[in-house]
Structures are given as C-alpha cells and as structure tokens.
C-alpha cells in the first residue's frame, strides 16, 4: 500500500471538508426557503411554509418554468438528431476535414458562453430575427450538440459492427438495420446524452441572457431579475430549493442508465 496511515487520515479529512464546502451553500438556501420573514438575516427568525404557496401560485414563475421546459425539450431534440448524425459520420467514415469537425464541435462549449451569446445576439440583430423562444432554442442547441455527440460517439466506439453486418446479410435494408439494430444499441447513450443536454439547457443563463430578448423568461432569467427585487427574494429562495431538489432526478436516472449499460456490456 502506497499511502501511509497518516496520509489516508489526511485525505479523509480533506474529502470531508471539500464535501462540506460543496454542500454548505445549498443547505443554507434550503433553510432560507422556510424563512418566515422577508429579511435575509441569519439566523432566520422563524420558520414558515407561506412562500411555498406564493411560489406555486406565482404566474411569472409558472410561465418561466413552462418556457424553460419547452426550450430545453426543443434544444435537446435538435441536439440529439444533429449529434447522432455527426457521431455516425465521424465514427463510420474516413473523410477530409474529420479532425477539424471533431475540434469544431467542442468549440461552442469550450469557448466562454459570453462569446457564444454575443455572437448569436449580434447575428440575430444583423439579419433581423426577432428575439424570443426560437432564438433561445437555437442558442441552447448550439452547445448541446456536443453533449449528444460525445455520448453517442463513445457508444459507437464500443459497439461491434458484426450485429449490423449480420442484419444486412439477412436481407435488412439500411433503414431496417438502423431502426432495429443500431438505434436500440444506442438507446441508453441517447437517453443519457439527452438527459444531460436537457439539464444543461434548463440551467443555462449566460447565453440565454443574450438570446432571449425582452418578454421571454426562462427560470434562470426569472431568478436573475427577481433577485433585484427585495420583496421577491423569499419566492426566489423557494424556487432555488425546488431547482436543487430537481437536480436529483437526472443524477438518479443517469445512475440507473449507467447500471443498465454496465449489465448490457457484460
């Protein structure tokens, strides 16, 4: 064993401290969601559930939630189609510019969001596209493609070509092979890629702030503007807690998919 006892104890302590650092702010927010008073003083003077009712009936919160869901669904759909097509092309064919494409596809996520945001905003303005839900979806899809692409590509690399060849030998045409063989084998990769893309889009604010324009609000944009209004802060706290709890769902699903994939490949 390489690590001596003291090193192991030290590592354990540092791991605990880091975990506490990661979760402390989230816990603090969770407590504030139950804060009885409007003021954000610590410790909260009393506990109450009244802001939950207010958040659940707030028209602007529900509308923003709807916008976020539609935007994320649209961006995920585009990303899955484009990302899968690109992954198939890059994995199955040798062609001029293949290396360039694999570099190009990560650019939208590797370049700072503020660059993507202002580039899209400048373009929409220049060609005269009206800002709104469609421009939000275009912005999100641009950086979600790489997520779908990465997931599908990783899967395709591990898939044996023999199943597809057997299908073709047995007389299936290209569509039948794709629909009945390739697609089912990629299913979990598409699911986890789609899940990640959805979560990424649902949470995005840096690019969205540029591409939404006035009048369209996603949940992060709602939070961003509500923070400026002190009497809305209690509702912001509740929405924040809701979003923290929401992020448990994709993690749970991703673990399930991961477990399923593990058994399939074995």
């Amino acid at each position: 064993m390489l690590e001596s006892g003291w090193v192991r104890i030290g590592l354990r302590i540092m791991t605990g401290v880091t975990l506490a650092f990661i979760y402390l702010p989230l816990v603090v927010l969770a407590v504030y969601a139950f804060n009885a008073s409007r003021s954000q003083v610590w410790p909260p003077a009393g506990l109450s559930l009244r802001w939950f009712a207010e958040a659940a009936t707030s028209g602007s919160v529900l509308e923003a939630l709807g916008t976020s869901i539609v935007a994320a669904a649209g961006a995920t759909a585009i990303a899955l189609v484009l990302g899968t097509a690109l992954a198939l092309a890059v994995q199955r064919y040798r062609f001029f510019g293949r290396e360039t494409i694999s570099f190009l596809v990560i650019l939208p996520i590797a370049l700072p969001g503020v660059v993507t945001g202002i580039a899209l905003a400048a373009t929409f303005k220049t060609i005269g596209i009206r800002f709104g839900l469609p421009t939000i979806i275009i912005g999100h899809a641009t950086f979600c493609v790489v997520i779908a692409y990465n997931n599908v590509l990783a899967r395709l690399r591990r898939l044996p070509r023999s199943a597809e060849e057997a299908s073709a030998d047995l007389g299936a045409d290209t569509w039948q092979t794709f629909r009945r063989i390739t697609l089912p084998m990629m299913r979990t990769a598409l699911l986890s890629g789609g899940l990640l893309a959805f979560a990424l889009s649902f949470d995005e604010v840096i690019v969205t702030n540029f591409t939404a324009g006035p009048g369209t609000e996603t949940i992060p944009l709602w939070i961003l503007s509500a923070i400026q209004r002190p009497n809305e802060l209690p509702v912001v706290n509740v929405v924040a807690l809701f979003l923290i709890l929401l992020s448990v769902i994709p993690v749970y699903l991703a673990q399930r998919i991961g477990a399923e994939t593990a058994t399939v490949t074995r």
Binding site: L29, L107, G117
Partner: protein
C-alpha cells in the same frame, strides 16, 4: 425449382439500396445537418461578431455603421480600464484553475485509491449532483451567505470580525472556484482511477518513496486529466459576467461585453471578445497536444 413471387421493392427500399451503393452520399446526408448547423449558425455568428469588431457606431443614433476601422481595438489598447479588466479576468481564471486543482486532488485521490467501493459510488454521486444544474442558484446562495447580516457575518461576529460584504474581488475568486470545482474533480478522479496499481507497486519496488512515486509516476500520468479539467475552469471563468456582479462589484471581460452588447457599443464588445477567443483557442490547441481531449 420453385420461384417465389417477390414483390417489387418499395420506394424506401430502393432508396436504401441506392444509398448503400453511394456511401459518399450517405456520408453527405449525415453531415449536412450538423455541419450546416455548426458552420452556419455557430461559425457564421462568430464571423459576424468578428466583423462587427471592425465596424463603428454612429455617435448620434448609436447604430452600427459598417465601415472598416480599428477604432474599437484602439480604445481597448489605450484606455487603461480595459487593460486592467482584461488582466484581472485572466488572473482570476489562473487563480481559480490553480485553486480548483489544489482542492480537487485530495478528494479525487481519496475517491480513486483509498475509498471502498460503496463510499466511492456515494462520493461520485455527491460530486456529480451539483454539476446537474442550478448554476445561478449556487451563485445566489453565496450572495445570501456573504451579504451583510448573512451567515458569514454571524459566524465571524464572536471573533469581533465582520464578513467581506458584497464588494470584494476575493468573493468572485471563492465563488468561481466553488462553482467549477466538480469540473476538476471528475476528470482527475477518472485519470487517477485509470492508473494501474502495478505501476505504483513497480515504482516502490524499485526503491521510490511515496513522494517520489507521486511526483514521477502519478502526476505525469494524470496531467492530461488535469488539463482537461482546466479547460472548463479556465473557460467558464473567462466568460462569467453574472458571478462578478452578484457577489462582488467588479467588472470582468464578460461584463464589458454584456454591458456593451445592448446599450453601449457592439463593435467594442465584439473587439473585446477577441481576448477570450484567442486565449481559449490557444489553450485548446495546447491541451490537444498534451492529450487532454481523450480525458474530456
């Protein structure tokens, strides 16, 4: 010999056969959508942005006038405050990246090489969960902690101290390091896990002390993973304009770009976005040479 009456192939089947005989066309169909999207929507937008950098705004109407000029770049280079902001942002990106490497290494090491199977699974989920969303919620949480009469003030009060309030650059450093930490932990963890134990045993069999093994075997092998993680910590810091305004009243490159995009001068914003673009493209090219793309 009996002959079965074979039905004439349908349109879909004939198309499939035809495509099968023309693989280049198949490839073209696959590439048309994604490449079209990336080149037109993304690179096209970047090109328009970069064009804007060489244009100017009409001082009277505030509209962009498409005449070639280097005015915006001149402004950026001569006005002191822009240089300060650019250096502050780059310095912050370096500081946040180094902080995250230091914070990520112990927990990643513990996860990969010390923890039991069960603990490891739990820790992976615990580190993964904050990655799945709520960027803004986390920034807001820090704002609530740091603000006057917040948790930090309360915790420091018994010592006769008070918190930093919401106007310290250091706030941005802490919060940005906090935000991007999982992006660094996960690649380092994956990189450490890939190192076969036999290599470490060989090193110690050959007489290396634990410190030497760490320095000469482990560090070189996880370097690509560290670089992969640093792409995120660096790029995300360079482009953030929300965290700085929410937790400290300081301007970063992103703030100048955002503030100028709607109300001020779009050409100036476009010219300033050259800085993060050039820095990140150079960073990516170096990262690719170091083999970091395989660890993404």
């Amino acid at each position: 010999m009996t002959t079965h009456a074979v039905p004439p192939p349908g349109f879909g089947r004939r198309l499939a056969t035809w495509l099968h005989r023309h693989p280049r066309l198949q490839l073209g169909t696959l590439l048309a959508g994604p490449v079209g999207w990336l080149v037109i929507a993304y690179l096209g937008s970047l090109a328009i942005l970069l064009l804007n950098a060489f244009w100017t705004t009409d001082s009277f109407s505030g509209r962009v006038v498409p005449t070639f000029t280097l005015e915006s770049f001149q402004t950026l280079l001569t006005v002191e405050v822009y240089r300060t902001i650019a250096l502050r942002t780059l310095g912050m990106a370096v500081a946040v990246t180094l902080t995250d490497i230091l914070l990520a290494f112990p927990i990643a090491y513990y996860m990969a090489r010390v923890a039991s199977r069960g603990t490891r699974g739990f820790l992976v989920v615990a580190v993964l969960m904050p990655l799945w969303g709520s960027y803004l919620v986390k920034v807001y949480a820090w704002r609530v902690i740091l603000q006057g009469n917040g948790l930090l003030d309360w915790a420091l009060e018994p010592f006769g101290l008070s918190g930093p309030g919401l106007n310290q650059v250091a706030n941005s450093w802490v919060v940005l390091s906090y935000l991007w930490l999982p992006y660094m932990i996960l690649p380092i963890y994956a990189g450490l896990e890939r190192i076969p134990g036999s290599l470490l045993e060989a090193s110690s069999d050959l007489g290396a002390k634990a410190g030497t093994t760490f320095r000469r075997v482990i560090v070189p092998l996880v370097l690509p993973a560290v670089v992969a993680g640093s792409i995120f910590t660096f790029s995300l810091t360079l482009g953030d304009y929300i965290t700085p305004t929410m937790v400290s009243h300081t301007k970063f490159i992103g703030n100048v770009i955002y503030d100028n995009s709607s109300l001020g001068s779009l050409p100036l914003a476009a010219a300033f976005s050259f800085v993060p673009i050039i820095v990140m493209v150079a960073y990516l090219l170096i990262a690719r040479r170091l083999g970091a793309f395989e660890s993404l």
